[in-house]
Amino acid sequence: MNRANNRMDSNSARIPLSPYFDFMRKLCSRRNCQRFLTKLMLLALSSLTLPSMAQNLLEDVKIAGSVDMIHPFNFDSPSKNTLQVRSVELMAFGAIDQTFDGWIDFAGHYDEGQFHFELHEAYISSSKIFPGLEFKVGKYFLNLGRLNRFHQHDWVLSMAPKSHREFFVPGGEDSLGAEGVADTGIEASYILPTEHFYQITLGATNGQCYGHCETLGEKPPRPLMYLRPTTMFLGSPQGGLLIGATFLNREDAAKTETQLFGVDATYKKREGKTLKWLVQSEVQYQEQTPLTEERSQKLGGYIFTQYGQDQMYYGLRVDGFSHLNKKFSGTTQDQDDLDYGLTAQVEYQNSEFSKFRVSYIHEIDTTESLPDVKDRMVLLQWVYHLGAHPVHDF
């Protein structure tokens, strides 16, 4: 087996081998990515198959994979109505030593018709240095609002709300694939030594890439900074109401300053193994001040309610988004702008590790004096997890 491993390493650029690797080669378009992926696969496979020594070496490394498959049936733009693997994630995580933990996460997704594997997250973290303190350094999804903290396959929603797409994935053309802001930096969270639960998260990242980025982009004049205080009310063993606020400040290389303020709330109530009630909501307000143009103000949010019974979950979401100071072209006259959406979804959880969801998404963009733009679709989604999926926050 060791010999086989060495042979694979030395020839990793050509990857002959099994149909499994051929398949992964097709998925992966970049040569370096292929090499890394091959090694990661070997690590994952060896952890599953080698009984003794290799298992000991990987004793505390957990390997997990998640796949998110979708089939949209869009009534207004049916060209993308195909069954597709929206994302594949491969994760490895565990203790590095007595103080630090490590996380590596590669994600594959379609981008302009091609399936790419890319580094999603890679960070070192610790929660063993000072009571109440946690920090991470590296590339990660920023602790902003509710959705941005979770991988898309773990969302309770099948597609990002309009406000999330506008505020956290600007420039992303593909509304189905929009996920969030992942950047390289440092983030620290501290639980205050008070009777009640209060947590403050502070972060600073490079700010070169925000949302959907093809390339890293130019270095901005200052890092992206963010702050997120959270607290909990109505806490009980089976649920509670978690409330958070988000403040973000960024100046990009073109000297456009962005400020974002948000509030999010998540209420959960469990009964036995079923999440009986879930209410999740986010509202964000964004001001953008480009160097030469007028400041733009945007407000958006959503509220999602879900009721669970045994293995079935029924959810309803209302979205709203508005460009508050939109002007008629070439004038200073205000132009009304409101985008809204309604999503109804039914989810069946076969187990903790696989779920099937059907959603009907109805979005309408209204702009004064322009015809309404409709986007209506039925979306089928199937998510499954392999391996030791990590435990999530509340």
Partner: protein, 306 residues
């Protein structure tokens, strides 16, 4: 002068700190009761769960994090029962000593004789199999005695000067529990002098209980652990129960009411839903009361027979 004052302050402060009761946070209320019995006045025990929850399925909530942060010792069941939420809660506290491997963390599952430890390769196609063995030992007096001994040793390790106190408490508590077990066993003997009838359980959480009281179970209604049975599987379980002349099927309060009722309709065998954890309030708020309640439920089997 200042250094003397400082030394005096430190001695008094550390003396006060040592004299303060040990703060123990437990996952199940059963363990909080156990800590109170063995730790006595030297501990303050608080349970994260109230007894109404399914300990497999909870969130790593800030509600838990804040409580765990105040602890000197975290006591869990282990064997994978709380694996879905407790590791995250412990990590979020930022306290190294409370995390697995730290001196302030203890799994009672590590000191008992574990049942149903898989001996063959398994995967998720076989349901929610606990790789380290069945974790539902909190309702078995036999396992509780082992857990109590382990706890007394752990408390003695944390407070060596109080070792005789903890060991004496354990001795008197274990004698009480053994006597209770003997009494309950003789009630069972009185009801079924020859041999106990067959029982069945919804989820495999009574295995330690059956073994300890020498009761006979033909298995679980769930074909795969943690997976709600489909209609054909439920029918199969009902047929098997009828064939084996099961006297009573028992289920926890957390198990699916719909499936338990359907089983009763299909098999005609009485079912009873019981707490499988000590409840922080109500009539089963201690280990001893829960044991009596469970045995009384079992003893009702003959009367319930259709």
């Amino acid at each position: 002068m200042i250094s003397k004052l400082l030394k005096t302050f430190l001695i008094v402060w550390s003396g006060c700190a040592l004299a303060a009761p040990l703060k123990v946070t437990t996952t199940l209320p059963d363990w909080a009761d156990l800590v109170r019995q063995i730790g006595g006045s030297e501990v303050e025990a608080e349970s994260l769960l109230s007894g109404d929850e399914d300990p497999h399925f909870l969130d790593a909530s800030p509600y838990f994090i804040k409580r765990v942060m105040r602890s000197d010792l975290v006591l869990s069941t282990g064997l994978g029962l709380e694996v879905g939420w407790l590791p995250k809660v412990l990590a979020r506290t930022g306290k190294k000593n409370l995390q697995p491997g730290g001196e302030g963390y203890f799994e009672l599952g590590s000191v008992i004789d574990v049942l149903e430890k898989p001996t063959q390769k398994f995967d998720r196609s076989q349901g929610d199999v606990h790789g380290q063995g069945n974790p539902h030992f909190n309702i078995s007096p036999c396992a509780l005695l082992q857990a109590g001994k382990g706890l007394a040793d752990k408390l003695s390790e944390l407070r060596p000067e109080k070792k005789p106190f903890f060991q004496a408490n354990f001795k008197s508590w274990s004698e009480r529990l053994q006597k209770l077990k003997t009494d309950l066993q003789s009630e069972i003997q009185k009801k079924w002098p020859k041999d106990s009838p067959n029982f069945m359980e919804y989820h495999k959480e009574f295995v330690y209980f059956w073994t300890c009281y020498n009761l006979h179970s033909i298995g679980s209604i769930e074909a795969l652990p943690g997976v709600p049975p489909s209609a054909p599987l439920l029918l199969q379980a009902a047929q098997k129960a009828k064939k084996e002349k099961v006297a009573l099927a028992i289920a926890s309060l957390q198990s699916s009411e719909k499936h338990v009722e359907k089983f009763q309709q299909l098999s005609g065998i009485p079912t009873v839903r019981v707490p499988t954890m000590v409840q922080t309030s109500g009539e089963t708020n201690t280990i001893e009361k829960l044991q009596k309640f469970l045995i009384n439920s079992i003893l009702s089997a003959k009367d319930l027979m259709p």
